[in-house]
Symmetry: C2
C-alpha cells in the first residue's frame, strides 16, 4: 500500500484565516487572502508588528479551533481506504501547538490513528511515497513525490505538481495505483 | 552525511527508573530492573494495578525530570559532529508527554535543534540510515539499520545488533563512515 503524508496548516486546517482574523482584529486592519498573493503575512506586516504576529501562533488556543479546509475530511477518509495516510506537521517551531494539534486531529480526523501523526521539523525525515504540502521548501526536502497545495503565499511557485483544493487531490490519486 | 535516529525512552532517558519509583511508592513494593528481565512492568504488575501504571505515564510531570542515561549527552554530542542526529520518540501514545518531552530535550540536548525532533507513532515513517531503540518492534518496522539498546524488557530478544550502553554506541559508530 502506498503511503501519503499530509501537512496540516493550510492543507487540512485553515491556519491563515485564523492568523488574519487575529491580526485584523488586533490592528484594526482588513487584510484578506487576496492581498497575500505570492507572499506571507510576515512580509506585508510592518516591522513593529512581527513580534505580535508570532505571539498569535504561540497562544495556547490558536491551533485549537481552526476551520477545516473544504473537502479535507471527505477526501482523506476516502483515500484512507486505498492508501496509508500519515499527518506530518512542522509542530516543533511552535511547541505550544503540540497538544492542540493532537486534539484537533482527534476531533476532526478520528479515522486516522495517532500512530500515524508525525510532529516534526524538516520533512526530509519522512519515508513516504507522497507529501501534500503548501510549503515549497518542505517539498524540496522530501524524497518522494510532492504535491504543492495552493495557498496565497505559494501562487507564484513553479516546478511543482500543484493541487488547488481537495477535489484536485482526489482527482490526482484516482489515477494512482495504491 | 549519514543520519541516525535515536529513541528517547530507555535510550536517552531513564523512563523505567521513574516508572518503578512511582509504582513502588504507590504500592509499597520494591520492584527493581533486575526483576524485569525479559518483560515489561505491565507483565509483573497485577491486573488491578494496570490502570494506575498507565496513569503514571499520563501525569503531566512524568516526563519532565527523567534522569539521563549515562553517556547519552557526551556520545550524542560527539556523534553530532559526524552524523545528522534526529530524536524519534513514540510520543503519540501518551499525548500529555508532548510538551514535557520537548522541554526535556531542550534542557539536556540543546545541541540538537528542534527541527530534528520527531514525535511519531510507528517508526516505519522514518527515513534514516540508523535507529537506536529499545523496542524490537520499532526496529522491525524501521527500514534502515537498527541497533537494539539493551533494556531489562528486551534482554531475551535475538536477531538484532545490540548495544548495551552509550559507550558501545560510540564504539559501533567509530567504525562507520559518516
Amino acid at each position: 500500500m502506498q503511503r501519503i503524508c499530509v501537512d496540516m496548516d493550510e492543507v487540512m486546517a485553515d491556519t491563515l484565516a485564523e492568523h488574519l482574523r487575529r491580526y485584523n482584529q488586533a490592528f484594526d486592519e482588513d487584510v484578506t487572502p487576496d492581498d497575500l498573493a505570492g507572499k506571507g503575512l510576515w512580509e506585508v506586516a510592518p516591522a513593529d508588528r512581527q513580534a505580535q504576529l508570532r505571539a498569535f501562533l504561540d497562544a495556547e488556543d490558536f491551533f485549537e479551533d481552526l476551520d477545516l479546509m473544504p473537502g479535507a475530511q471527505e477526501v482523506l477518509k476516502d483515500l484512507s481506504t486505498r492508501f496509508e495516510i500519515f499527518i506530518a506537521t512542522q509542530a516543533m517551531v511552535v511547541p505550544n501547538s503540540l497538544g492542540s494539534k493532537y486534539r484537533w486531529l482527534q476531533r476532526h480526523f478520528a479515522f486516522i490513528p495517532p500512530t500515524h501523526y508525525v510532529f516534526c521539523g524538516t520533512k526530509s525525515i519522512l519515508r513516504a511515497d507522497y507529501l501534500i504540502d503548501d510549503m515549497p521548501r518542505n517539498l524540496q526536502r522530501f524524497e518522494g513525490h510532492g504535491l504543492l497545495f495552493t495557498a496565497p503565499h505559494n501562487v507564484t511557485a513553479t516546478g511543482f505538481t500543484r493541487v488547488d483544493n481537495w477535489q484536485q487531490v482526489a482527482d490526482f490519486f484516482a489515477g494512482v495505483h495504491s
